[in-house]
């Protein structure tokens, strides 16, 4: 056990703290509406969560990577169990009212276990992948990580929470990439999913399928693998329309609205249109902090959670939006660097997995506010109101700080 006086990864902590401060300010602004409602007081709660998060991060950063590695299995099993529990006792709340993503006991909502599961999956994947002697060259060799990510993913999709599911997929592929899996293999692994999405247009799917055949011809996987791959892609192409029928109407509408917001301007498209109007009307300098009319007059939905970035866009303009994007970008570049510098494969993979997790959230959340991504309702790190997610983000920062200090400690011998 070593002792440290100053956290060694202060730029990371400072960036996260700055983003959190901005986030709390935006939650405060989100509560400033002309007809006041419950959102008005949420910024105080958010500060409490942020403080708890920072404390959690500090405690985490004082642990050791080895402890983390050891704890990854129980954490993974525990969080998967909680997700399984949700299928039976999960409740909806807040802006995720229609899903079963909340764990509640006796009416007291304890949190969203999927936030914890993200970190657990990152740790567990890191542990399994770091034990590989060499990067796998066959698809079937990926069964272990696929199983680890797949179980909680399926449980989350059953809630159903498409957004979080998407985050798991990003984490999974990012960590495979980081462990050295070659890109043709990654493409092959992803191909059934891509087929599923492209199946809505027979022409596009056909083109994709030809491309896949070319890839198979070039890489020459085993005949069994080739057959499985082609079979899976064909099956997805056939299954997609059936799966589409199985989706809830609101999910179908959300996807359709993503393709064409004006198709349903009063209901599902309303969120996206109002979000775009809010951001667009902000212009270069914005309407001023707390003065966004779209937000004030309640045209903007979920302005304190999913669409908080639209408040940033409306009130602080392109200037504010760019500043926050730059901060996020620097933060992620920083965490990639931590992953790259770490000498322990487990630590390195964990750092990159957490980077992928934060990145998926930022891309999906920011993207959906201006219609680049479908509206799936996942929060923006450090900004969106919500306790579990704030804790998860700061725990990630704590882990990253820990990895940074241990990696550098060994490499540079700069233990304070």
């Amino acid at each position: 056990v070593r002792s440290r006086v100053v956290p060694t990864e202060w730029p990371l902590v400072a960036l996260a703290a700055l983003l959190t401060a901005c986030g709390v300010a935006m939650v405060y602004s989100a509560g400033q509406t002309d007809v006041p409602n419950f959102v008005a007081g949420l910024w105080r709660t958010q500060i409490v969560w942020a403080v708890l998060g920072v404390i959690g991060a500090f405690v985490t950063s004082r642990l050791s990577v080895r402890l983390l590695e050891w704890g990854s299995l129980p954490l993974y099993i525990g969080s998967t169990f909680l997700l399984l529990l949700l299928i039976f006792i999960g409740t909806g709340a807040g802006t995720a009212a229609s899903t079963k993503s909340w764990l509640a006991i006796g009416g007291v909502r304890l949190g969203q276990p999927s936030e914890l599961a993200k970190i657990a999956v990152v740790l567990m994947l890191a542990r399994v992948l770091s034990n590989w002697r060499a990067a796998p060259t066959s698809l079937f060799a990926l069964w272990q990580p696929a199983l680890i990510a797949g179980i909680p993913w399926l449980l989350i999709m059953a809630q159903p929470d498409l957004g979080t599911g998407l985050v798991f997929i990003v984490i999974f592929f990012a960590m495979l990439f980081w462990s050295g899996v070659s890109w043709p293999l990654l493409v092959m692994a992803a191909s059934p999913g891509i087929s599923l999405v492209l199946a809505f247009s027979t022409g596009v799917w056909g083109a994709w399928f030809l491309l896949l055949l070319a890839l198979v011809a070039w890489r020459r996987p085993s005949w069994l693998e080739s057959a499985a791959l082609i079979g899976a892609n064909v099956a997805m192409g056939v299954v997609a329309p059936i799966l589409w029928e199985r989706l809830n109407p609101y999910q179908q509408r959300r996807l359709l609205v993503f393709l064409d917001p004006s198709s349903d301007p009063r209901a599902s498209g309303y969120h996206l249109i109002q979000s775009q109007v809010a951001i667009g009307s902000g212009g270069f300098f914005g309407k001023g902090f707390t003065d966004g009319s779209q937000k004030r007059l309640a045209f903007l939905p979920a302005q304190h959670t999913d669409f908080i970035y639209a408040v940033v866009g409306e009130e602080l303009g392109f200037l504010g939006v760019s500043l926050v994007l730059v901060l996020f970008c620097i933060l992620l570049l920083r965490t990639v660097r931590i992953a790259g510098r770490s000498t322990s494969p487990f630590a390195s993979l964990t750092a990159f997995g957490l980077t992928a997790m934060l990145f998926a959230h930022i891309l999906e959340n920011v993207g959906m506010t201006i219609g680049l991504m479908p509206i799936t309702g996942i929060p923006l790190p450090f900004f969106s109101y919500g306790g579990s997610f704030m804790l998860a983000c700061w725990l990630s920062i704590g882990i990253l700080a820990l990895i940074s200090s241990e990696g550098r400690g060994k490499a540079d011998g700069l233990v304070i």
Partner: protein
Amino acid sequence: VSFHPNKVQERARVASALLFLVFLFLGGSFFRTQVLQGARYHLQSEENRLRELPLPAPRGVIYDRTGRVIAENLPGYAISLLARNEDSLRVMMRRIGAVVPVSPEQIGAAVRRYRREPTRPTVLFPDAPFALVSVLEERRVEFPGLIIQSAPKRHYPDGPAVSALVGYTGEISEAELGQEAYAAYKPGQQVGKDGIERQYESRLRGQEGARYVEVDARGRVVRDQARPDLVPEAPPALYTNIDLDLQRFVYELFGDSLAGGVVAMEPRSGEVLALHSAPTFDPNEFIGGIPHDYWQQLQADPRRPLYNKAIKGTYPPGSIWKLHTAIVAMERGLVDMDDRQPLPCTGSFQFGNRAFRCWKRDGHGHTTLATAIEGSCDVYFYQLGLKIGLQDLVAGGIRLGSRERSGIDLPAESRPLFPTDPPKAYYDRMFGPQGWSNGVTLNLSIGQGENSQTVVNMARFYTALATDGAAARPEVVRGETERTQLFSLTPAQLRGLQGALASVVGTGTAIGSRLEGIAVAGKTGTAQNAQDLVNDHSWFVGYAPAEDPKVVVAVLLEFGGSGGRAARVATRIMEHYLKARVVAMPLTDGP
């Protein structure tokens, strides 16, 4: 796992580059939305935020010829509602109905207005009484989206005295909204429904203003005057030729007992000095929706108060049309003032196997044209008509304007009924080729038969007689004088006719209507009609002073009996005008 530092560094570079590109793309997308398309989205957010509440404009004030007010605007209130959808409108109406009385008709009307223009505040009470306004104002918080605003209310200080003339206003109807002429109108707006109000709608309609309020996503008004008001503008006032004093006099003269129509005109300019139809109604009652029982009462009245007897009613002209016959004959050189007809009047005239009677049973004797006009001898005109012949009589009558509207600037003037040229085809069509005889010529020559004229058209014809043969188009609102030469007689012939008309009132059929100090010329008419075989319509059209006509008055009394009665009404109007006119002179040019 290949975790050689070099390989990891390479992956880190790839990941960093990818990250950077994604963020660049996100930034670019925001640049596009916020900077390049910012103006468009800004407009959309303004549209979201601001709701335009129309501020009704006052209508133009209508003045008489001396600057007295005929129609003005009083402060009133309109109550409307910003509703998100039809259901919320109904719910709100029901909740308001728990506080103040709301009829099912009012709910129906509000729903119709909403359907037509859902983004505008829906007018619930176009003309809300003060009591209702104060009740709702007090409990305003209970009704989000309720808008109480001042709305100018039309008012006619002389009410029933001017109704035939000025008409009234009302909310634009569903049918009108569908017409192209009303394309610029919105439901709930007021529009001229009749009379001057309708005829001059485009000049009387003000420019609607707007108040901008800020509403939230649920349509609740959160801030008043989010942007400076667009002030409604009243159009310039409308000046009429009406002499309000004379108009009031006519109204009082008719009182409640007489039914009929009156038009008084300045003979040279065509300026309409007074126009009245009795019995009348109070147009003020019509503003803000006609009360059901008042409407029923007007509808049920057998004397038809809503029917404008001065411009819409057509009546057989009777003897006042004898001047047409005389002019047609004189123009053709068939008769002169001193000419007699072959047969004297013995009270009736044998034509074929039928006797055509004169109104005077003991006969007029052997009259000249002058004395035939003075005594209104039917037998004289039977013979004159036969001399002219049916073809020329009809063609001449048409040329004198018997098939034309007077062209008065009021809406829905009726077209007079008169045979077409050639008359043979007309009568064949009417009665079949064997169904009529030349007897129609006799009827036509004394103003009976297929001839039905409006009061205003007869007034117009007599402006030609009062002047130089040119008829002036009746003009209610000040405008260009428009005169049409109806006939061209020699000055001597015209003087002869005018002399005969003067003797009608001096010594003839209207002797009872002589005025002290004012010589009146004119012609009585007693028109038989199909509705009432006992009571004839009573006509008088004439002018005064006979030597220098200043006013032409046409009076019709429905079922009023002999023409002498109408003459008494007409001469009293002339007397009032000519005596009062001296007093009113300095004001004539007005504002």
